[in-house]
């Protein structure tokens, strides 16, 4: 049977967790713009580490496949695609390697998302966002 924490997390899409981590990371960075190297394979490695280090129902939604030598979570891949499709994150030319959080991403977090997380979840997300900043190549 689902625990309360899992039931709460289930109501949130993995995209929402990802959007929250990015918005909080931007705030923690203290910079006016959050930009980081984010090819799919790079983000997969970063999130694999985050999931291993922070056991939480929020991050456990990113299930990693056990096939192949490098970490791969289709849910993470789909989430980042949906955030792109939603216009919350963008990628910079020419090679699309650099990911940045758009203004719409921050607005979405402030106006829609923040209220959906509990206090302990927000605390957890802040910790994850801090570690995310350490792991990504800016």
């Amino acid at each position: 049977m689902a625990t309360t924490a899992y039931a709460q997390a289930a109501a949130l899409l993995p995209d929402d967790v990802l959007a929250a981590v990015l918005a909080l990371a931007k705030r923690l960075s203290g910079k006016s713009r959050l930009v980081f190297k984010g090819h799919d394979f790079e983000l997969q490695k970063v999130f694999r580490k985050l999931v291993r280090e922070h056991r939480s129902p929020l991050l456990d939604q990113f299930v990693f496949s056990d096939r192949g030598p490098d970490p791969y979570s289709p849910i993470l891949s789909e989430s980042i695609s949906r955030l792109q499709l939603s216009g919350l994150v963008g990628r910079e030319n020419p090679d699309y390697e650099m990911v940045f959080l758009r203004h719409a991403g921050e607005q979405y977090f402030d106006r829609e998302l923040k209220a959906r997380f509990t206090k302990p979840q927000m605390k957890e997300l802040r910790r994850v966002a801090g570690r995310f900043l350490e792991l990504v190549d800016k």
Partner: protein
């Protein structure tokens, strides 16, 4: 007694084999294919091809309901399985050829033996890789993938990267019934030396021996035999002139050892570019065609109605009552049986919808949600609509709200299940890690380092992504207004009705 997914798959396979009398093939056979020409199959493979698992695929169209839009797209999963088997062998041989040139002193990376070697296992896995497909192929896969026990499977690392159809194929191959039949017929009477556990793992894109991981990748990777066949086959039968230069592709594949796995690598990204370009074209022109999406949501509506009304709407297939509440039930029937029940089935709604499918009297577009029609496209509100493309999203809640907003006179006539919303996701152009190694001994790198995959996703999302609200023609104006009003209220998305009406030919 409640059975798990494995138990229900076991019952399905017993039902499929019930009354089946195996005829042992006399010899190997040549089967001619419109696309690939002569294809050679061993005696053991012919026994499997003649089994109920493969034969039922003759009645399941490869592209589901696409034939209603592209009339010649009536090709089946059966042809595709045979084609994938042939192309898997061609990839396998190309790898061995290249290996003999690049590493003449090394042992070949795999055995070419068709009776019990790696090639035999690869071909058998290719033949069986789609036996888990049900009614209308991917159209129903989108419906049943959210059903609980498949979701439980998807939460396990072993199945996280597999489509629902692949998980069901794997479970079918693992059933006691099939294993018993396989042992008696394929191994003992046809003389094959094939380990069915290895075959089952390969269907999931894995191999028990890391040094042979590339064999699984021939079947499941961004440039696998499955894709090579369906891109060529779907485009051919839809009349699209797409080309994948297969001889060039074969000349560019090889293997390398990376992190203790022997992997399939490309020597150049050019063949991959062709594959991805063709795949994106197929998405834009075929799989996400507005009428095809309409057919998909119409099927979803029928299925939902049957699930909610099992007594009145259940279907009887060879003594088995099915109501589509479980993923496996989509495998008890085929396109042919479902749409051509001589006496019809279900209640008035189901009969009316099936009649619409038969007469191609499809719903029409009432509202388009896209960059062209949404005035506040760049604001965050779009996210809430895109969220509805997630498999677990409750699209029906929005449909019910739109129905509830219709003028009373229309609401009285229009069934709540006749207002349908389609929110496609972004085409998945990469299903796993994929690697390029420019020459033997060079670094093994992810394809994104060479090729801007994310740019393609972005370009598709920006230029081609569209979501639609559909309804019967007579209600289109009322549904258009109601949908625009609900989208603004629920999600803050503002649709310019003039532009939407133009896009939907609603004047």
């Amino acid at each position: 007694m409640r059975r798990g997914l494995e138990g229900r798959v076991e019952l399905l396979v017993e039902w499929l084999f019930d009354g089946f009398e195996t005829t042992i093939p006399r010899d190997s056979k040549v089967i001619n294919d419109a696309l690939l020409g002569n294809q050679y199959f061993t005696k053991a493979e012919i026994a499997v091809i003649d089994s109920p698992l493969l034969q039922r695929l003759k009645k399941i169209r490869q592209t589901g309901l696409v034939f209603q839009v592209f009339p010649s797209a009536t090709h089946t999963r059966f042809e595709h399985c045979l084609g994938a088997c042939t192309l898997a062998e061609r990839c396998f041989k190309a790898i061995l050829d290249r290996s003999s040139v690049e590493f003449p002193r090394q042992k070949p990376p795999a055995s070419e033996d068709r009776v019990g070697g790696d090639l035999a296992h690869l071909r058998m896995a290719a033949l069986l890789h789609d036996v888990g497909h049900g009614l209308c192929s991917h159209s129903s896969e989108q419906i049943y993938e959210v059903l609980t026990d498949l979701q439980e499977f998807k939460r396990k690392p072993a199945y996280a990267n597999n489509a629902p159809g692949e998980i069901l194929s794997y479970l079918i191959v693992k059933t006691k019934k099939f294993r018993k039949w396989f042992k008696e017929v394929v191994i003992q009477r046809c003389g094959a030396k094939i380990n069915l556990n290895v075959v089952a793992q390969m269907i999931l894109g894995k191999h028990p021996n890391r040094n042979k991981h590339f064999l699984a990748q021939i079947l499941s990777s961004p440039y696998d035999a499955d894709k090579l066949d369906y891109i060529a086959r779907d485009s051919y039968y839809c009349g699209l002139a797409l080309t994948v230069d297969l001889p060039r592709f074969y000349s560019m594949i090889s293997t390398t050892v990376y992190k203790k796995h022997r992997l399939l690598v490309l020597r150049s990204y050019v063949p991959l570019e062709q594959i991805l370009f063709s795949k994106m074209t197929l998405f834009g022109s075929v799989y996400h065609h507005p009428k095809v999406k309409c057919l998909d949501v119409m099927l979803r509506s029928v299925m939902r109605h049957i699930v909610e009304n099992p007594r009145e709407c259940g279907l009887m297939i060879r003594g088995k009552h099915i109501d589509f509440a479980e993923p496996v039930e989509y495998l008890y029937t085929t396109d042919e049986e479902f749409f051509n029940q001589s006496d019809g089935f279900g209640d008035e709604f189901v009969r009316r919808m099936l009649d619409r499918f038969r007469r191609r009297n499809l719903f029409v577009r009432c509202l388009e949600i896209s960059r062209r029609t949404v005035t506040n496209w760049d604001e965050y509100h779009r996210k809430k609509v895109v969220d509805l493309s997630a498999p677990t999203a409750d699209v029906h809640r929005v449909e019910k709200e739109i129905h509830g907003r219709l003028p009373a006179s229309v609401r009285k006539k229009c069934d709540p299940d006749e207002v349908l919303l389609s929110v496609p996701g972004v085409p998945k152009i990469k299903s796993d890690n994929a690697y390029i190694q420019a020459s033997p001994g060079a670094a093994t790198e992810s394809i994104e380092a060479f090729f801007p995959l994310e740019q393609w996703t972005d370009a598709y999302a920006y230029n081609k992504w569209r979501s639609f609200v559909y309804a019967p023609r007579e209600y289109r104006k009322a549904v258009s207004n109601a949908a625009a009003s609900i989208l603004k209220e629920m999600f803050g998305v503002v649709v310019d009705l003039t532009k939407s009406n133009q896009a939907c030919h609603l004047t």
